[in-house]
Symmetry: C2
Subunit: 355 residues, 2 copies
Amino acid sequence: MSQDKAAVVVIDHQKLLHFAKECFLSAGFAEECAQLIADSLIEADLRGLNTHGVMRIPMYLKRVKAGLIDPLAQVKVVKENANMAILDAGNGMGQPASMYAMQKAIEKASVATISMVGVRNSNHYGTAAYYSMMAAQQRMLGISCSNTEPLMAAPGGAKAVAGNNPLSIAIPGGKKPDIVVDMAMSAAAIGKIVLAQKKEQSIPLGWATDKMGNDTTDPNQALDGGSLLPFAGPKGYGLSLAVDVLAGILMGSGFGEEVKSPFDDFLHQQKVGHMFMAIDISAFMDLEEFLAKAEALIGQIETAPAAPGVQEVFLPGEIEFNTKCRRLVDGVPLPIGLIDELNAYAQELAVTSRI
Amino acid sequence: MSQDKAAVVVIDHQKLLHFAKECFLSAGFAEECAQLIADSLIEADLRGLNTHGVMRIPMYLKRVKAGLIDPLAQVKVVKENANMAILDAGNGMGQPASMYAMQKAIEKASVATISMVGVRNSNHYGTAAYYSMMAAQQRMLGISCSNTEPLMAAPGGAKAVAGNNPLSIAIPGGKKPDIVVDMAMSAAAIGKIVLAQKKEQSIPLGWATDKMGNDTTDPNQALDGGSLLPFAGPKGYGLSLAVDVLAGILMGSGFGEEVKSPFDDFLHQQKVGHMFMAIDISAFMDLEEFLAKAEALIGQIETAPAAPGVQEVFLPGEIEFNTKCRRLVDGVPLPIGLIDELNAYAQELAVTSRI
């Protein structure tokens, strides 16, 4: 009897958290570090961003095992003043260094209004929003971005030269959920193209090129040496380069083709850079006034009429907020195929915990 | 004999500058202010952004004449510390207040690394890049953004709730032209839809909705009470709201539906807000090292292969840079129809200068 691998089982998030932490502990991470990484993954699963949740555990730990991520890396401050700092992640996981960096950015902003803290020599940091939201939780504006390996062609180009560089901006929403903008710079995630290939479907023009640089609707051509395309052409391309400059070059980290893929490259360190900003609203205006105005702006959008067939218009981050509220109670749905894979992987690691 | 109104005549940029300045002087602006505004318009014409060049003069002066822009407004500092300031434009033109604001941001950043200077109670400020480029010229990173009146529906919405809020980021390019990202948040400018209507052509899906909120390919439906749509759906929508918060709410300016159109509303002040940031690169790393790395990143893109039929892949802002170099020598091409209109308008203003 064949089991439907895509069928989902709902798992309590605490159980997932425990499982993820055990996996990282077994790979040599210290207690606090394993906890932080596990929390960032489960937060993604709770918010419905499963591509950045527990399904990443095997990829992360494969890199640790290959000696490409140092589980015991110590984050060091390379440069610092009242408004900025550059941290060196020492080729550790992106999450602990990034949490430390945003915490530092928040502390600096609370004294000096605006701060920018970067991280060099890092690795994949999970969802950009995890860090921007730390600032919003402290009633500050938060910005988070990271570079990635080149994945997108420039408009008119035939080779990936620009990262999919995620960017998130979080804004305290007062009595409403915080506004959380979170985007990557490609028109579509590569996972969507892989899915279209599996389903033997075509992809929309504007998602990808073939290996010659021609725009293509064929997922096979896109994945056979082609490149992703930036959203809105020059707009996504321009923002991607700006993030590479802010998170990569300015922080003394890798940039451009120096940054390596966490999925495809098992020979080199990633050399990813991150950038975090915090802005202390209360230096500009009374915080209560700001929150009331943010609520008013949200209200204008919520009360505007919706298009035919649309039940509700959402603010950025609202769907993720609602999903988290639901999943905290109901649990996180995961495909059976993934659960089997993770449990088998745990056995390999001699982790006793199962999901 | 009918003259082709779309045929172009090439005009020396100094002549255009003189003409524009005379027009603003005649409307009651002080010498320095008229010069600043004229320069921002001619810079747009030189860079090929004609929609933000001298063709805007009648719109601006119509608002002055209607008492909706104060030509003699004094910019006042409302709040200030080492890293931030809020200026009140006093309902003057956007350009002089914005130049003053970015200048202040650059001065603050040179001492305190990162700065943010906002402007409230302002008007249309021309191209966002004019100000971000001021920072790049000083070898700093520059960010400029402004809110606008609601022009775009939220994804799934049936009413314009989000501004087309321009955003520009400028990055010193060393021996290469500076990288200048400059974008508005809609999938297409409203001018393109007007043009399609004139030509009786359809528009692509994703540009606009009809008045019910349905996505439409009919420019007539789009312009009859419809809304623009943000680029890349939630991405352009999210960035638009972020700019409205940074440039509008945070600066104590108008936001959301408080901001009025410069084209359609001749009863209310615009109440536009702007936000400018400058980041002092030398606080992070040796400036020469930064520039060498920026050149290297640009080089990676320039030397990547182009798609079939594409002669050259451009960096953000490079086309505008090349256009300016050419037009400084050759002059600015303007349609005869526009030249006639501007000359007739000058006569009305009793300005003796003609183009």
